[in-house]
Symmetry: C2
Subunit: 337 residues, 2 copies
């Protein structure tokens, strides 16, 4: 995999809402060594608390690219950002983005980049030609984060586990499958942008054979219970061939986010289904525990829910933000031993 | 959906092996009204038994396109076919192909087509921008053919059911999801060539709301038990929201074709899994029966297998080629009533 050109200057556009700047916050929190500073238009109110630098200042301090750390409303680059992006190219920076719209499809950007010899990195658009999946076992261990739904902590959980495993002296790589994860890791595959025939093959490519004590901690996508994205989830599960999976869940969500007609599954059913389907390519697949996002629960409520759920399922339950991930790490140690 | 420009002249290249000419045979058998004749290079030994016409002769009889009815070995157009394809464009025909390689990516063909105002139709490459799936119920009835594996009769079974339902006076459309099916129907979506995020959405688009007595008979792809393509199968299942599915199976296959390390599932387990996963978007999903490819079985062997299997599962079992599809039609009548 070709690595993205870090370190970055993080671009915040004219954003006034932190939720649109998730990518920038993710980079700051998970890959601070790849970040030189932030840059925003005068109208922006969001800040990462980093040093504010112009593209020219950042370039003089070693920045190699301007990274779009915000999701524009509607997914397309607003016209009034264009002059900023052109100025960054002129200051000597590449541009990195993870949008559905390709930077290279914007004529003014494409022409400027060509003239100056800069590269536009569209991380959502795979440049590799993948093979179809083989289903053959390969060396090394793998853990996949899966979910009852989208947007409930699969990336965060995977990053936290990889970081903790390494901090304990272990051998692990975070494997990114979404745009923010790819920017944090510097490489990866936007699995939902792969042509359908190659989902499992791309997941095999992303987590290749490795030494017996090595763990790939693979960022999950979607959910087997999601009416739009379950196919992506299943292809990723088959290609990742995980030895362990962590099931991510938000106890306060009653239905699939954005799909009020689709109820949330029971956790025991969900674990059984991920195990059943995962067995096709890894008969030893097992659940390492439940990772929850408990940000909307009071402390007594959350303690009670965790105790009851752990009891019922016979598995550890933890909110990585509050409890860390050692409960899952212990399961990994059992598999490695 | 824009229809393909039929009637066609079927191109057989220099093919010497009938198995490479499946698409041509499919067109001849299932859409004879769209076929004007066949055309092959002198080296070819395969024939469809149709009148042999040059592109110019076919054009003068009303043909609108040369259709590549063969799969070239390796998937790419051999260089020595090029002059034949150029000659067809010059004779006034479009070209229709269903290959991974795009006709439009071959400079000589693209330039000739542009110069003459002809169109190159790459049916494997969707030209529509799909939305993500909604999972919302819609009017009309749907039947999806699914399988324990690839290449065991899902297209044939769907075509036979749609034809029989119409012959009995019913209202039905065959919905194509693969290249040969698309050529037969004149339209459809190569579902395995859709970007992963949009598999279910493309399946919803392909089988839209319709009158209450109308059946979409949807061609299945892959298998939930296929280590490379199960994601495609699940997305198609969720988007198709079938009321009924027919499970296609080859009783003589012990492992997934090309994957000797992946055993064939038990039929009762497979039915239960398709029902369980299909319920997410259609709680009323049910199995209409088992469609078998029994071409490698003796007659007593096949009769015995069918009787035992039908008994065990409580479902009709039929080989559409030998037994027709009335057993499945009866189940559809129950749903309609």
């Amino acid at each position: 995999m070709t690595d993205l050109p870090s370190p970055y200057l993080l671009f915040l556009g004219d954003t006034r809402n932190e939720t649109y700047a998730k990518t920038a916050f993710g980079l700051r929190d998970w890959a601070p060594e790849t970040v030189i500073g932030e840059y925003a238009m005068p109208e922006a109110t969001v800040t990462l608390g980093l040093e504010r630098l112009t593209p020219a200042e950042a370039a003089s301090r070693g920045a190699r690219a301007l990274l779009l750390g915000i999701a524009p409303v509607g997914g397309a680059i607003p016209a009034h950002w264009l002059s900023e992006l052109v100025a960054a190219l002129e200051a000597g920076l590449d541009i990195v983005a993870g949008l559905h719209q390709r930077l290279a499809d914007i004529p003014e950007l494409a022409a400027t980049a060509r003239r100056l010899g800069r590269t536009l990195h569209d991380v959502r658009h795979p440049t590799v030609s993948f093979s179809t999946g083989t289903g053959l076992p390969r060396m090394g261990k793998r853990l996949l984060t899966v979910g009852t739904d989208c947007a409930l902590g699969k990336k965060y959980t995977a990053l936290a586990i990889a970081k903790r495993w390494r901090a304990l002296g272990g051998n692990a790589d975070f494997r990114a499958t979404g745009q923010t994860g790819i920017m944090i890791a510097g490489h990866g595959v936007a699995i939902d942008a792969v042509v359908a025939d190659f989902i499992a093959g791309a997941a095999e490519w992303l987590s290749p054979a490795n030494s017996a004590d090595h763990w790939d901690i693979i960022e999950g996508q979607g959910s087997l219970y999601h009416p739009a994205f379950a196919g992506v989830t299943l292809g990723l599960l088959h290609g990742a061939q995980p030895d362990l999976f962590v099931l991510c869940h938000d106890p306060t969500r009653g239905t699939i986010y954005g799909y009020p007609h689709i109820p949330m599954p029971d956790l025991a059913d969900a674990i059984a289904l991920y195990e059943q389907l995962g067995r096709l390519t890894n008969p030893a697949i097992a659940c390492a525990g439940i990772s929850i996002n408990s940000s909307k629960m009071s402390d007594p409520e959350r303690q009670d829910w965790m105790a009851r759920t752990s009891d019922r399922l016979g598995l550890p339950v933890a909110d990585p933000l509050r409890d860390g991930v050692d409960a899952f790490i212990q399961r990994m140690q059992t598999v490695t031993a």
